[in-house]
Every structure is written in structure tokens, then in C-alpha cells.
Symmetry: C2
């Protein structure tokens, strides 16, 4: 993770939804950082000392089993903050938070956030409301993992990643996506190949390009977009 000197514009929608005065006070305590692909932002079982508000990119919430297999159980991108639940008093992480691809984020200490929540009722309210929606997203993912096909979930994931990346092309290997979706790589390659032949995506050696977004939305399960409306309502349209 690299600290950079020039603080760029805030694109994180959670932060942008805050009152100007509140955001100003937070800004002075935030640090702009670049996160490296696969960087572990919060380790399962550890205390949560810092929060990350992504501008670009996102982090996957990953649960690992004893045999090493793992699945993504949720994701946090530019509409929220990594570690948000810790602000409600939950001090220890129960899943790994792993950065996806490269991205940029504002880092701020949990203590600073808590202090600001004391001062700003608006912030405290937004944290609770956003955390509520986050739980909904978690529940959706849990059910999705059980009920929907690999192809549907693959499309959903690509759409979500597309939203967070802000670019049509981003780094992603079959191997890694399979890991996130909790399936074999060979199975995912077949699905990815068929999406490519269908003209929905294009990829070469670890880079995907979203070609036909509407087509992907068509193939994805309902789980993509279920909470979009409520997010827009809470944070304003993007």
C-alpha cells in the first residue's frame, strides 16, 4: 500500500452523502492510499483499527474453510466503507477483507470515525442506515450462493466489479474469479468462454473487458441490482 501526497477528489458515494462540514472534518484525518491487488485489508479475527473508503476498486469479504477452500460472501466498493460495522461496536472481524485488483481509497482510523460520530448525528445515522443495507446485501449473497447457477453468479460478479472499477477493462484471472465464486477453475473457464463467444465480455490473460453490459444484466441473477434502488435513495443517484 502506498501513501500518495496529492489528495484527489472524493468519489466514494458514502462520503459524498455526508454534510459538507462533517466531511471536511473527516477529510483532515483521512489518508489517500493505493491498495495493491489481493492486499489483505482486514484479517479474520483481528481488531478493526482502520476503515477504507474506496474511490475506485473494491474489496471482497472472504470466508475460508479449514481445508483451504473459500468463497466470497460479500463485497464493499465505492458505495460504502470497509469496516463500517465496526462503528456499531463490533470490534473483531469475522471474515477476511481482500482488495480486488488495484484501487484507491481513503483510510481513516476507527477511533477518528467514532469521535466524529459523536459530533455528527448525520454521520451516525448514515452509518447505521448503510450498515443495514449491507446486511441485506450479505443475506442476498448467502442465498445466491445456494440458489443460482455459476453463469448467473459470474455475470453478477462481473457487473459489480465493473461498477466499482469505473473502467471497462480490469485485471481478473479465471483462477481468481473461480476462487471468489467458490467453484473449480475449469468450470469457470467454460462459462467465461461461452460469455466471450456470446460477445458479452472479452478477456486475455488476466484482463477482462465488459463488452455488452445489458447482455450481462440479462444473464445475471436478480441478486445484482436488488439493493441498488435503496442505495440510490440513501446516497443519492450516482
Amino acid at each position: 500500500m502506498n501513501q500518495t501526497r496529492d489528495e484527489p477528489a472524493i468519489e466514494n458515494r458514502f462520503l459524498l452523502a455526508l454534510p459538507e462540514s462533517c466531511l471536511k472534518r473527516l477529510t483532515s484525518q483521512m489518508e489517500f492510499v493505493e491498495v495493491r491487488p489481493r492486499e489483505v485489508l482486514i484479517r479474520a479475527g483481528s481488531t478493526i483499527d482502520n476503515l477504507y473508503f474506496f474511490n475506485r476498486g473494491f474489496a471482497s469479504l472472504v470466508k475460508a474453510m479449514r481445508d483451504g477452500r473459500m468463497v466470497e460472501i460479500g463485497a464493499v466498493g465505492p458505495t460504502s466503507g470497509v469496516g463500517l460495522l465496526s462503528l456499531l461496536g463490533l470490534e473483531r472481524a469475522v471474515w477476511e477483507t481482500v482488495a480486488q485488483g488495484s484501487g484507491t481509497a481513503f483510510r481513516i482510523s476507527r477511533a477518528a470515525m467514532l469521535a466524529e460520530m459523536e459530533k455528527s448525528h448525520a454521520l451516525a445515522e448514515l452509518v447505521k442506515k448503510r450498515a443495514g443495507l449491507f446486511l441485506g446485501e450479505l443475506a442476498q449473497a448467502a442465498a445466491c450462493n445456494r440458489l443460482h447457477s455459476l453463469e448467473q453468479r459470474c455475470c453478477r460478479w462481473l457487473l459489480m466489479a465493473h461498477d466499482c472499477a469505473g473502467t471497462d477493462t480490469f485485471a481478473l484471472t479465471h483462477e481468481f474469479l473461480a476462487l471468489m465464486l467458490g467453484v473449480q477453475r475449469s468450470g469457470l473457464s467454460i462459462v467465461a468462454g461461452s460469455l466471450q463467444r456470446g460477445g458479452l465480455i472479452r478477456y486475455t490473460r488476466g484482463r477482462v473487458t465488459i463488452v455488452d453490459r445489458a447482455g450481462l444484466e440479462n444473464e445475471a441473477c436478480e441478486c445484482y441490482g436488488t439493493w441498488q434502488g435503496q442505495l440510490d435513495h440513501l446516497l443519492g443517484k450516482s
Copy 2:
């Protein structure tokens, strides 16, 4: 749901872990209720006005999809309280909470709990700590839904139900368990039949008996019991 007159002994481990004075104040505002099988305690999208602390029995947290299919994404039994997360400021439920079989619980208004949390630091702490573990259980279930076989998950569910029921025999149809596990009934019948032939369980028309607990634990996935140790640490051994 029936209100009964004689307040019986408290068996809920969350409540029992509270300081005596705190519990006493809560008790005066609690109402002992019997919950009916499949009674919806909290509806998805609604505000959470009451909490339920089960003595016997438990409730399933269920996420339904648009097409009517559904899965259990978690459960709350006598080691916790239904609606606990609402005490952290999350006002609206994002999943259905449905009572399993019949059970008994103490009902208390969210407002009363919040008032008592102001007074009792111990309660406030316990709520946060228990909520943290609950999130861990949620994450475990989400991953389990993806990674583990029907038989493993079936065994896990039966063990959990056994713990909560407090009796070796309890009401449960194949149809309903299949619904909870998010699979077809016919598939579940086959698994249940093999468990019965293996001497692990016995069932007749909507009633299951746990015959060989150790055997079930052997067949179940690691997801059963993962959080037991931490629960014991937090609430004391049962």
C-alpha cells in the same frame, strides 16, 4: 402466539450471562410467550419493535427470492436473541425471521432493551459481543451454502435443531427441511433415508428423533461447532 401467566425459569443463555441486577430489571418488562410453528416473528422490510429470547426452540432467518425459492441464511436459538442487531441501530429487518417448530421465548420491546443498555454497560457490551459472533455465524452459513454437500448441511442442521429443542424428538418434515436447506424435497428424502438406515436418526410423519448424535457430528461439516467455543467463552458453558 399465546401469552402465559406463570413466568418460568430463564434458560436463554444470553439472558443468563447478564448481571443479576440488570436481568431483574429486564425481567419485569419481559413477557413469556409461546411461539407457534412457522410463525413469522419479524417480516423482511419491517421495523423491529420486539426482541425474542428463546428458552426452547429457535427461529430461522430466511431470505426469499422473487421466484419464491428460499434458503435459511442463519438461525437464532437460546444462545442469543431475535432482533439483536436492531439494538446496534439497524432498524429494519432485511430477512424474514420464522419460528421453527414450537418454542417458548421471552419477548421484550426494543425500546426497553435500548433504555436498559443506557443503564447497563454490561448489557451493552454483551449485545455487541454476541452480535459480532452472530455475524461470524452468518458468514459461516453463507460459505457453507456454497461449499458443503446436502448431507453435511442436513446433519449440521439437525444438530443445531437438537441443541435448541432440548429434546431428542421434535417436529420436522422433509418438505420443510428441504425448504430451509434450499434443495428439492426428493433429494432431501434420499439423504434422510440414508441417515435413518445408518441409525443416526429416526423419523415418522413430521417428527424426527436424534438417535446417534456423535454419528451426526461425524457426518456434519465443520460449520457445526465452529463458533461453539467462542460462545461458551462469552456466555459461559451451558
